[in-house]
């Protein structure tokens, strides 16, 4: 009996590295400038540095990092647009830089600040074009287009020239365009950038639903923690091209959450809590807001101290926002890189 073949990961990255040559700032003086014209001085910037991770089919992964961390470069390498300098990359078992066209049928891409829709034409025309490009049978294409138009509630938008669509409407059409060929994986580069709160919520909901329904693997980069929390279950954090964190979002919170915010409504007008690691954020009549460093003083000890002073009518305990967690993570990485 033959051993069962190992399941192919959606993404497999092993020690991926990528650097760019960038021009250095112009020199001062005419002679130096003339020299720069013929022999420009360049420097090498390491965008991705021995990055390794894998993603299983059907996972929804947030891929985050500060500006210039190497997120978009990694995404472009995964899509076969850029070639890696070193390391191994496989997407559904294919090598993107060598098998770009085969891979294109398996993946979809959404770049938040770019567009694949023909600006003067209704999205339907671009959808028809993509049907041909991805070699979809005409009848199957019509069915797929109808199904996605219904899920994404395109309605009359599908026949409205793109130039008349709002950013949120356009983004829904961009995502539909990327899903038409039923890709197994979707790379999303800041899909909610520039959108208002309700448009963001719609896009997140649709991405989550589509991924659940069709089992599409998602790799999403964003600076908006709301995108990660509402769409993804796992987060990969990179900084300076290196892997900083890879795990479930709750685990990230637990690891980097050093404080909790507690609001107490007491019977006495003011509480006097002078415990180590406890900071009073605000204190008004019968209401005290605290930030508690859990490593220094456990939460229970603070509550006990408050109860000793007065009866507590109500209490709210909140985690610090994920933004703070991410910021702490980046600051930690900055500190470590400065030290090294």
């Amino acid at each position: 009996m033959q051993p069962a073949a190992a399941p192919v990961n959606a993404v497999e990255l092993n020690h991926l590295s990528k650097s760019f040559r960038v021009r250095r700032a112009r020199s001062e003086g005419v002679a130096a400038r003339a020299r720069d014209l013929f022999r420009p001085r360049t420097e090498t910037v390491l965008a991705v540095d021995r990055l390794s991770f894998s993603i299983a089919p059907g996972e929804r992964v947030a891929f985050i990092g500060p500006n210039g961390a190497g997120k978009s470069t990694t995404l472009k390498i995964l899509a076969g647009i850029l070639q890696p300098d070193a390391g191994e990359v496989r997407v559904f078992g294919l090598v993107p830089s060598r098998q770009r066209r085969q891979l294109a049928f398996q993946i979809g891409t959404v770049f938040g600040q770019r567009s694949q829709l023909w600006y003067q034409l209704p999205p339907r025309d671009t959808f028809e074009l993509l049907g041909r490009v991805y070699e979809i049978d005409a009848r199957a294409h019509r069915r797929r287009m109808g199904a996605l138009a219904s899920v994404f509630e395109l309605g009359t938008l599908i026949d409205t020239p793109v130039r008349h669509l709002s950013l949120g409407e356009r983004m829904r059409c961009e995502i539909v365009a990327s899903l038409l060929h039923s890709p197994r994986m979707l790379f999303l580069d800041e899909p909610t950038i520039g959108l208002d709160v309700s448009a963001k919520a719609v896009i997140r909901e649709l991405l989550w639903t589509e991924s659940e329904r069709a089992g599409v693997t998602l790799l999403l980069t964003s600076h908006d923690t709301g995108d990660m929390e509402r769409v993804c279950t796992r987060v990969i954090v990179i900084h300076g091209g290196r892997l900083l964190w890879d795990g479930a979002i709750p685990a990230l919170r637990r690891s980097y959450l050093k404080a909790k915010r507690v609001t107490l409504w007491s019977e006495t007008e003011h509480l006097e809590l002078t415990l180590p690691g406890v900071r009073v954020l605000s204190s008004s009549s019968y209401r005290t807001e605290l930030e508690i460093a859990l490593e220094i003083t456990p939460l229970g000890q603070v509550v006990d101290a408050a109860l000793r002073q007065a009866a507590i009518r109500d209490m709210a305990i909140e985690d610090a926002p994920l933004d703070d967690v991410i910021r702490a993570l980046y600051a930690d990485a900055d500190r470590r890189s400065e030290m090294s």
């Binding site: 472009k76 294109a104 034409l121 074009l129 041909r132 070699e135």
Partner: protein, 263 residues
């Protein structure tokens, strides 16, 4: 090329046709400009002929010559601008990631635009040249000009594609295009047949694609045109090969530059 691949690239031509129909303003602007140019030059050549200058020995034929060169020039869509904008905006990442050849797809879209422009501008050329001269060249000459003119316009579209790809390095290809236009003006014989230019310019022009783009096809309307259809066809084929090679080469360089410099 398989039927599926042909269908893919035809789809690019079709969507470009739909796009051109929506953006009729630019085409109508070209038509108006064309009519004005032909009106001005027909008056100019008439005045030159009346003054007894040898240049405009046959002013009517010269107006038809200009109508043919301008028809080719104005029909070729400026796809370098669209390519440049796609590179600047970054939309090119979508196009590079598709299961098609980026270069052929852009060229096919260019041919779609050409298919919309050429008939209307051709009709304008015919009507205006006839209206301003009251004369037409022999039907046989016009029948030859049309296919050669269309092939020349397609070749010009390929060369604009080449210019557009320079945006991977330059970001702004306007200066290159500006130089290109001036060369087209001089070495292509845009306004006057090349035979009327100094001999050294004629010699230089033979080493460039410009004569086969404009002067070659247009010279069939001249009573004493020196280019034969066979020679022009041969030269067009040679320059089509050269352009194909140049476009493929620069695209390979461009994608590797994207890899090196990050785009």
């Amino acid at each position: 090329m398989t039927a599926t691949r042909i269908a893919k690239y035809t789809a690019f031509s079709r969507i470009a046709v739909a796009h051109a129909r929506r953006e009729r303003g630019e085409l109508y602007g070209r038509v108006a400009f064309f009519a004005v140019i032909l009106g001005v030059f027909s008056s100019l050549w008439r005045a030159v002929a009346e003054a007894g200058m040898p240049v405009a020995a046959d002013p009517k034929a010269l107006v038809w010559y200009l109508a043919a060169t301008e028809w080719i020039l104005l029909s070729a869509p400026p796809i370098h601008i669209e390519i440049q904008e796609a590179i600047r905006r970054g939309d090119v990442v979508y196009r590079l990631g598709r299961p098609v050849s980026y270069v052929i797809a852009e060229f096919a879209a260019g041919l779609g635009l050409l298919a919309v422009r050429a008939p209307l501008l051709g009709l304008t050329a015919f009507l205006c040249a006839f209206a301003f001269t009251g004369w037409t060249p022999p039907l046989g000459a016009l029948v030859i000009v049309v296919p050669f003119g269309l092939v020349a316009a397609a070749l010009m579209t390929g060369l604009y594609l080449w210019i557009g790809l320079l945006a991977f390095w330059l970001q702004d290809v306007a200066p290159v295009f500006w130089v290109w236009q001036k060369l087209m003006f001089v070495l292509g014989g845009l306004m006057l047949p090349l035979e009327l230019y100094p001999r050294f310019i004629q010699r230089v022009a033979t080493f460039t694609p410009f004569p086969v783009l404009l002067a070659g096809p247009a010279s069939f309307v001249l009573p004493n045109g020196i280019v034969t259809p066979g020679v022009l066809a041969r030269n067009l084929v040679i320059w089509c090969f050269v352009t194909t090679f140049a476009v493929c080469w620069i695209f390979r360089r461009a994608t590797s530059a994207l890899t090196i410099n990050g785009g």
